[in-house]
Symmetry: C2
Subunit: 570 residues, 2 copies
C-alpha cells in the first residue's frame, strides 16, 4: 500500500504561486495541490497592466493567456495540471501546530479549515497606501490588481480624464504614465524625491525627466502631496502639494509597494528587516513546512550581502520554481538578486543593475565611474540610436559594481550582459575584451559596454582624469573658477552648446594654446569626449597643470544647453 | 634634451591598424606614426558591405565616416590625430636586423625604405581563392574590399543580374546574399557542406535553410563546384557542380577567408598552426619589436585552450587597442575569444557562441543539450517573436559550453549573456537564477535563456529524458519502432503536424492510456514541449517503461510537417 498523498496549499495565485504549484505538480504527480487567492483573476502578467492602459495590449484576457492562447482559469489549472484553485477565498489564519489554514469564502462568508503538509506563502505585495487625505475620492487609483486596471480602462472609455496626476516617480508611476501619455492624455508627476526614478544617479535620471517633459509631461520633484481635493460629487478635482495645487480628474498613487506579510506575522513566522517574510536559501520560512516566494519575501543582495526587498515578476517566477521543487523533497537554492530593472519611459529605454555611484559610495566602496554615449548598433546602420551608459567599478580591484543605461537604442542587452558579469564577479579587464557579438544590425564594432570598460581602464590606469557631468554642473553652480573647454567644430557648437564654455576645435588647439591659462583647471569635452580625450593629452603634453575630461561629452550632458554662434567673453 | 621620438609603422589601415595607431597616439603624443595600406580606402566598416549591397546603407561613404560624419581619410588622420597615412603603398619586405620596411608606391612603382622602432602588422585577410576554373570570368566576385563592393554596386545598377549564385554557405555568403535577395534578385547557394552555416548543429542550421528557401533562395548543399562557365564575351553564364549546372550571370565566391601572413612569413616570424601569425598574450610576434593584430593573427580559444583563427571586426578593434598600448610601453593582454557570431539571414536573426554539440563532443566533453523555443518578449506584448535556443553544457559539472539561437526575435541579447557566462566559467545553476531584466517590451517573465537553463537542470537532475529533433529524425529515417506522441489539441494538430505521429491531447491522456503500449519507446512532444513534459511525467507515473521528451516541440522541429485532420493508423 502506498503512503497517502501529501497536501500542498499555496496561498496566492498570481505569479510565484502558480509557478510553485505547477512545478510541484511536475515533481510529484500524486500530490494534492490547492491554490487559494482572494482575487478574481489568477495567474496573470501583472507587469503588463501599464501596457494595457496604454492600449498596446488590447484586452486584459491577453495577460491571462498561455502562449498557446488558453486562458489560465481555475478550470485550466484543474484540467491540465490537476491543481485545485479557489478564487475569491482568503486564507485568514495559519495554525502551525495543527498544520491547517482557515479559509474564508469572500462571497458567502463561510469559513472552513484546510489541512496541509506543506504550505507556500505567495501572498504578493500591495501598493503603499496614500499618507494624505482624499485617497478615497472617486478617480483615485493605486493599480493594485487586474480588476483595478479594468476599472481604469472603463473610466478612460466613458470619461476620458483631462488631466492625470501621478504621485510618485518610480517604476509603476512612469510605466503607467507612459501608457496614458501614449493615449494622448495630459500627465503630471509629483515626486518627493529630487528626480524621477530616484534609484538612478541624478545625471542619469535627468535624461528620464527630459524625455517625460519632451512628451509634454509636467514634472514636479521635491514636492510633498498634502491632500487630494474633491468636488461635490466626491470626485477628485486636484492635488495640493506643499508648493502648488494641480488640477486633476484622475490620480494615480504609486508610492512603492509593500510585502503582504500579515499572514506570516499572525503565524509568528520571522519577518525580515525590510518587512518581507524572512526565508533561507531554500526559500523556507522559520517554519520548516512553510515556504514563501515572490513579492511577499525578503531576499538577498548578491553584491552587498545584505537583505533587500525587490519585488519583481521575474524573481517571483524563479522563486516559485525553487519552492515547487523544495516542497516535493528537492533541495534547490535561490541565491539572491543584484537589482536589475528595465523599463520604457515614453520612447526612452531605461535600465540599471547592481550599485549606482550613490549607493556604491554609501556602501563604502572606493569607486570610479564613467559615462559613455555610443550608438546601439553600427553608427552607419539605419535605425542606430544613441544609448548612454554609466559604469561603476571598484577602483583598486576593477571589479564591476553596476551599470545604468538610458537611450532610444537597445539598453537591455547591455544591462543583461552587465548582470551576468557582475554576478560572476568579473572585472573591467574581462569586460574590456569580452567576445560580444558584432554585426552592423546589432552592435557597433566595439559594443558600447566594451567602450565603457575601455574608458574605465583608462581612468583606473591613470591615463585620463575624468569629471562627470554632475560634478561639472555642481562646480558651475558653485561658481568655481575653471574653464569648460569645448573642442568640437564651429558648426557643432552653433547647433547646440553648453553656455559659458570656451570653444577651440581640436584641430586648432595646437596653434591656439596661448589662449588658455596654464595653471587654471581646464575641463575638456566634445560630442562624446573622444576628441576631448585627445585635447587633454595635448594640453598635458604642453605643460598644462590641471586638465580633466568631462565624461560623455555634450551627448551625456543632461542639463541646460543653447544654440548660436560662438561669442568669446572679454 | 629629450630623446628623439620613436617611429611606429603600422601595416594595414582598415580595422586593427587604425585602432592601434590612434591608441598609440593617445598613449604617446610624440611618437612618429605612419600607417601604410595597399588599398585606396582606409578605416572603413568592412562588415557593412553586405548591407551596402542590400541597399540598406546608401553609400560607401557611410562606412568610412566617424559617428560625427567626418570621412576617415588620410587627411583626417593627419589633421585630427597627427598620424601619417600612405595609401596605395605596399610594404613588400621587412628587414628585422636593420629595422626597416621596404615600401612600394603602387602608382609610381617607386620603392623606398622606412625605419621603425616598433612595427605593427595589421595586414588583414583575403577571401580564399576559387579552386575551380572560371574564377576570372567577368561577373565573378569575392568581396575582398570596399572597392570591389563598389564595382558590384555599379554592375547592379547598370546590368542587374537575373540569377546570382553564391558559392559557399558561410557568414559572408549568407549576409551578402540576404542583401541581394532584399533587392529582389534570384539567388542560389552551392555549398560543399551538408548545411548552410556549417558551424551550427544541423538541426539549428536547418532553420536557416528554411528561411532562405522561404525567401525563394535555392539551396544546393553537399555539392562541389567543378567550374564556372563563361559566354563568348568572357562573362560568367553558369556554375557547373558535380550534380547540376545552374544558370548565373553573377557569381559570388565566398569560401572563407585566409590570414594575410605572407609578409610575416618572409620576415621569418612564427606562424601558427591555423596559418595566422603567432602572437603572445601581449599580441607580440616572435620578434619583440613587431606586434600583430586583427584578421592576420591566430588567437586563442578560451574554452578549448587551443589556437584558433576567427577573423572578426570586433576582435580586430580590441586587438588594435591592446597593441596601441603595448607599442608605447604598456602591458595590456588580449586573452582570446570564445567564438561569438551573430548575423541576419533574410528576416532571421542567427547567433552562436562557444561550442556546438558537435564540436563539444569532438573535444571530448560529456555533454547535455536542450532546445527551447520561447518568445523574445512577453508573449502578450505586440511584436513578440519566437526564438529557438540550443544550450550545450557539460554533464557532470553543469558548466556552460555553448549557445546557438535562431529566430525573428531578439537573438543577440541571449548570445551576449551566454558569452559573458561562458567566459566567466559559469554553470547552469547560476544561469538559472540570473537576475536578468524583465519588462514586457524586452523579455518574458523568465528570459528564454533562463528557461533553457531550467530545462537543462531538469535533464541534468534526471527529471526528464530528452531527445533532440535531430535524434528523432534519425530514428525515423532508420525506421526504428517507437511512438512519436503529439499531446497538443486537435486544432493545433490540424493546422500543422509531424507526419506519422500519434495524437492524444494532454487533457485526454489519463483516460486514453490504454491506447499506448507500456513497453515501447514513446517520445512525447507538444508545441514547445511543456505539455509534452507533463505527458512524460504522467506516463512514467503510470508505469510506462521508456518515455522521453522531444526537445522544443513542433516549434523547434525544422523538418517535414503537414496539415490536416488526425487519421489514426490501423
Amino acid at each position: 500500500m502506498s503512503a497517502p498523498s501529501k497536501r500542498l496549499i499555496v496561498v496566492g495565485a498570481v505569479a510565484a504561486g502558480p509557478k510553485a504549484a505547477a512545478k510541484a505538480r511536475r515533481c510529484d504527480p500524486s500530490m494534492q495541490i490547492t491554490m487559494i487567492d482572494r482575487g478574481h483573476y489568477i495567474s496573470y502578467g501583472g507587469c503588463g497592466m501599464p501596457y494595457l492602459l496604454g492600449d498596446e495590449i488590447r484586452s486584459s484576457d491577453e495577460l491571462r493567456e498561455t502562449p498557446a492562447g488558453v486562458l489560465r482559469s481555475p478550470e485550466f489549472f484543474k484540467k491540465s495540471k490537476g491543481i485545485d484553485v479557489l478564487v475569491e477565498h482568503e486564507v485568514t489564519r495559519i495554525d502551525r501546530d495543527k498544520k491547517t489554514v482557515e479559509v474564508k469564502d469572500l462571497n458567502s462568508g463561510a469559513v472552513t479549515e484546510m489541512p496541509y503538509d506543506k504550505l507556500v506563502l505567495a501572498c504578493g505585495s500591495t501598493p503603499a497606501p496614500a499618507s494624505f487625505p482624499g485617497a478615497d475620492l472617486d478617480g483615485v487609483y493605486r493599480l493594485t490588481c487586474l480588476d483595478e486596471a479594468e476599472s481604469i480602462l472603463a473610466r478612460l472609455a466613458l470619461h476620458p480624464p483631462k488631466h492625470v496626476v501621478c504621485i510618485g516617480g518610480g517604476l509603476v508611476s512612469l510605466e503607467t504614465a507612459s501608457g496614458l501619455m501614449r493615449r494622448g492624455l495630459a500627465v503630471s508627476f509629483v515626486a518627493r524625491s529630487d528626480r524621477l526614478l530616484f534609484r538612478l544617479d541624478y545625471e542619469m535620471a535627468h535624461h528620464v525627466r527630459k524625455e517625460v517633459e519632451h512628451h509634454h509631461g509636467a514634472v514636479y520633484t521635491g514636492e510633498d502631496v498634502l491632500e487630494l481635493i474633491g468636488d461635490e460629487q466626491g470626485r477628485v478635482a486636484g492635488v495640493r502639494t506643499d508648493k502648488r495645487t494641480i488640477e486633476a480628474d484622475m490620480v494615480l498613487v504609486a508610492k512603492g509597494v509593500r510585502p503582504n506579510s500579515e499572514l506570516a506575522v499572525q503565524a509568528g513566522l520571522d519577518i525580515g528587516t525590510t518587512g518581507g517574510i524572512r526565508v533561507d536559501g531554500n526559500l523556507r520560512t522559520s517554519d520548516p513546512d512553510i515556504y514563501a516566494a515572490g513579492d511577499c519575501v525578503e531576499t538577498h543582495d548578491l553584491i552587498t550581502g545584505k537583505p533587500t526587498y525587490q519585488p519583481r515578476g521575474s524573481t517571483a517566477n524563479k522563486q516559485g520554481r525553487v519552492v515547487g521543487i523544495n516542497v516535493t523533497g528537492g533541495n534547490e537554492q535561490f541565491p539572491g538578486v543584484i537589482g536589475n530593472v528595465v523599463l520604457k519611459v515614453c520612447d526612452l529605454n531605461v535600465g540599471w543593475v547592481g550599485l549606482t555611484e550613490t549607493v556604491a559610495r554609501k556602501e563604502g566602496h572606493d569607486v570610479e565611474t564613467v559615462i559613455v554615449p555610443a550608438p546601439d548598433r553600427a553608427h552607419f546602420f539605419p535605425g542606430a540610436n544613441t544609448i548612454i551608459l554609466k559604469l561603476v567599478a571598484e577602483r583598486h580591484t576593477g571589479r564591476l559594481l553596476g551599470l545604468q543605461a538610458v537611450g532610444k537604442g537597445d539598453v537591455t542587452k547591455r544591462i543583461d550582459v552587465a548582470t551576468a558579469m557582475i554576478t560572476c564577479g568579473a572585472t573591467v579587464d574581462t569586460l574590456s575584451n569580452l567576445d560580444l557579438g558584432y554585426a552592423p544590425p546589432f552592435s557597433p564594432v566595439l559594443d558600447p559596454i566594451i567602450t565603457a570598460a575601455n574608458v574605465m581602464k583608462n581612468k583606473l590606469d591613470g591615463r585620463v582624469r575624468g569629471m562627470s557631468p554632475m560634478e561639472v554642473k555642481r562646480k558651475r553652480d558653485r561658481g568655481d573658477d575653471f574653464i569648460l573647454l569645448d573642442v568640437r567644430d564651429d558648426d557643432e557648437y552653433e547647433a547646440q552648446h553648453i553656455p559659458g564654455t570656451v570653444l577651440i576645435p581640436l584641430g586648432q588647439l595646437g596653434e591656439r594654446l596661448a589662449e588658455l591659462p596654464k595653471n587654471k583647471e581646464i575641463v575638456a569635452f566634445c560630442r562624446v569626449s573622444l576628441r576631448g580625450y585627445g585635447a587633454t593629452l595635448k594640453l598635458e603634453a604642453n605643460g598644462f597643470a590641471d586638465v580633466k575630461l568631462m565624461d560623455g561629452g555634450i551627448v551625456a550632458w543632461p542639463f541646460e544647453t543653447e544654440a548660436g554662434k560662438y561669442q568669446p567673453s572679454a
